[in-house]
C-alpha cells in the first residue's frame, strides 16, 4: 500500500524507495468508550443504591386503665383533639366536643394557614405548656400514612404530650358526615 510519509521528523536519513519505515504507533488510547461504560455503570449503581437507611420513630402507648379514676386527667382548656378521616381529611376540636358539634372544625395536611400544623402551633402558643395535650384519634377510614404524618407533626412542632386514642362512635359519625359533605360539595 502506498503511504505518504507525513512525518516531518527523521528527514535526515531517507531510505530508498521500497524500504518500509517502522510505523510509529501512538501510545494514546481513545478513552471515550471507557468513560461511556464508566458512566453507564455509575448510573446503574446510583439507581440501585439505597443510600438512606430506614429510620424509626418511637411511640409510647398509654396503658389502658380500667378504673376511671386511674385514667390520666387532662385539662379541658389545654386539650386539642385531632381526628383523621378518610381521603386525607383531618378535623380537630379544642377542649370537649360540643353536643351540637359547633367547635368541630376541619383542617388539611398542607403547610398553609388552615393546615394542621398551623392549628397545632396556634394551640401551642395559646396554652401553657404543662396543660397542652394533643389527642390523636384516627377513624377507620384513614390510612397509616395519615397517622404517621400527624405523629410526625408532634415531633416537628415539639409537642411533649400526645396520645393515640381510639375514636368514639359519635366522633366517627361526625367525621364520616363531614367527609361525605365535603365530597358532595366538590362534585
Amino acid at each position: 500500500m502506498a503511504e505518504m510519509d507525513t512525518s516531518s521528523s527523521g528527514g535526515g536519513h531517507k531510505k530508498g524507495p521500497g524500504v518500509k519505515k517502522g510505523k510509529k504507533m501512538s501510545t494514546r488510547v481513545d478513552l471515550t468508550p471507557m468513560v461511556d461504560l464508566g458512566f453507564l455503570l455509575i448510573t446503574f449503581f446510583i439507581f440501585t443504591t439505597t443510600m438512606s437507611q430506614p429510620t424509626a420513630m418511637k411511640l409510647f402507648l398509654p396503658k389502658d386503665a380500667d378504673k376511671p379514676d386511674e385514667q390520666n386527667k387532662i385539662k379541658e382548656s389545654g386539650a386539642l383533639t385531632i381526628l383523621l378521616g378518610g381521603d386525607n381529611t383531618v378535623f380537630y376540636y379544642e377542649g370537649e366536643l360540643a353536643p351540637n358539634g359547633a367547635n368541630f372544625k376541619s383542617a388539611n395536611y398542607s403547610n398553609g394557614d388552615d393546615g394542621i400544623r398551623a392549628v397545632i402551633l396556634r394551640k401551642k402558643a395559646s396554652t401553657p405548656e404543662k396543660d397542652l395535650m394533643v389527642v390523636i384519634k384516627p377513624s377507620p377510614q384513614c390510612t397509616y400514612k395519615n397517622v404517621v404524618d400527624v405523629l410526625d407533626e408532634m415531633s416537628i412542632n415539639v409537642i411533649k404530650r400526645y396520645a393515640l386514642v381510639d375514636i368514639s362512635p359519635v366522633e366517627e359519625q361526625l367525621v364520616e358526615k363531614s367527609v361525605a359533605a365535603a365530597a358532595a360539595q366538590s362534585k
Binding site: 464508566g38 455509575i42 449503581f45 411511640l59 409510647f60 397509616y144 400514612k145 415531633s155 416537628i156
Partner: protein, 216 residues
C-alpha cells in the same frame, strides 16, 4: 497582506481525567450499594423526620401491607424455635419446628399455619396469603397470641418491636396490631419510616439550628 494563520487545534480531548473521575465515582457507588434482599412483602413506608436508624438486631417485625394484611417475622432462630414449640404445646397444631425456623415470615391464621409451612417458599407471596387476622369483628385477634408467645420467648432479653406499615394501609389493621401490643404490655415500639428533612422554620428545625436537638 498575508492573513495570520490560526493555529489549528485538535478536537481530541484528553479523556484520561474524565475516565478517572468516572471510575472513582463508580467505585464509590459499588462500595456504597447494599443490595436490597428481595422482599416477599412489598411495603412503601411513610416518611418522618425521625433521624434514629431503625435497629437491626433482635428485631420483631410486624408488617402491614397496603391491603391491611398483617405479617409477622422474628429474626432470631432460637426465639423462633421456642415460639414454635410453644404453639405446638398450647395450640396442638403439630407444626414442623424446622420449617417454622426457616420461614422468613408468617402470614396466615393459626388454622392454616401447618399447610403454610408445608408450602414451598417461592409460593409464599404476600399478595396470595390471607395475613394474620387482627380484625376483632371477624374473629379473634390472633396477633395477641403471636405477641404473647414472642414476649415469653424473649423473657429476660431485649427485643426491638418494630411496626412497618404501608402508606395505604387502612387504620383498622394498624389498630388491631397496636391493640395486640397493648394487651401484651408492649407499650413501647418503633415505627419504621423513611427519613425526611425537617421543614425549615418549624420548631424542631429551630432546635436543630441551636444544636440541641434531642432524640427521644
Amino acid at each position: 497582506m498575508a492573513r495570520p494563520k490560526l493555529p489549528r487545534k485538535s478536537t481530541n480531548v484528553d479523556m484520561t481525567a474524565m475516565c478517572d473521575v468516572a471510575f472513582l465515582l463508580l467505585t464509590f457507588f459499588i462500595l456504597a450499594t447494599k443490595f436490597k434482599p428481595p422482599e416477599a412483602i412489598e411495603i412503601i413506608t411513610p416518611k418522618s423526620v425521625a433521624s434514629k436508624v431503625a435497629p437491626t438486631k433482635d428485631v420483631v417485625l410486624v408488617s402491614v401491607d397496603r391491603d391491611g394484611k398483617v405479617f409477622f417475622s422474628v429474626e432470631d432462630a432460637d426465639i423462633k424455635k421456642e415460639i414454635a414449640n410453644e404453639i405446638n404445646t398450647t395450640k396442638n397444631l403439630g407444626i414442623d419446628v424446622n420449617a417454622f425456623v426457616n420461614a422468613p415470615f408468617i402470614g396466615v391464621p393459626f388454622s392454616q399455619l401447618k399447610s403454610f409451612l408445608a408450602m414451598p417458599e417461592a409460593e409464599r407471596k404476600a399478595n396470595l396469603l390471607p395475613g394474620i387476622p387482627v380484625d376483632t369483628t371477624k374473629g379473634p385477634n390472633e396477633m395477641i397470641d403471636w405477641m404473647r408467645y414472642t414476649v415469653s420467648a424473649y423473657q429476660g432479653k431485649k427485643m426491638n418491636l418494630l411496626l412497618k406499615g404501608d402508606n395505604k394501609a387502612k387504620y383498622p389493621s394498624i389498630e388491631g396490631v397496636i391493640n395486640a401490643f397493648k394487651k401484651t404490655d408492649q407499650l413501647k415500639f418503633e415505627m419504621v419510616t423513611n427519613p425526611e428533612a425537617v421543614p425549615t422554620g418549624s420548631e424542631l428545625w429551630k432546635l436543630a439550628q441551636k444544636g440541641q436537638r434531642t432524640e427521644e
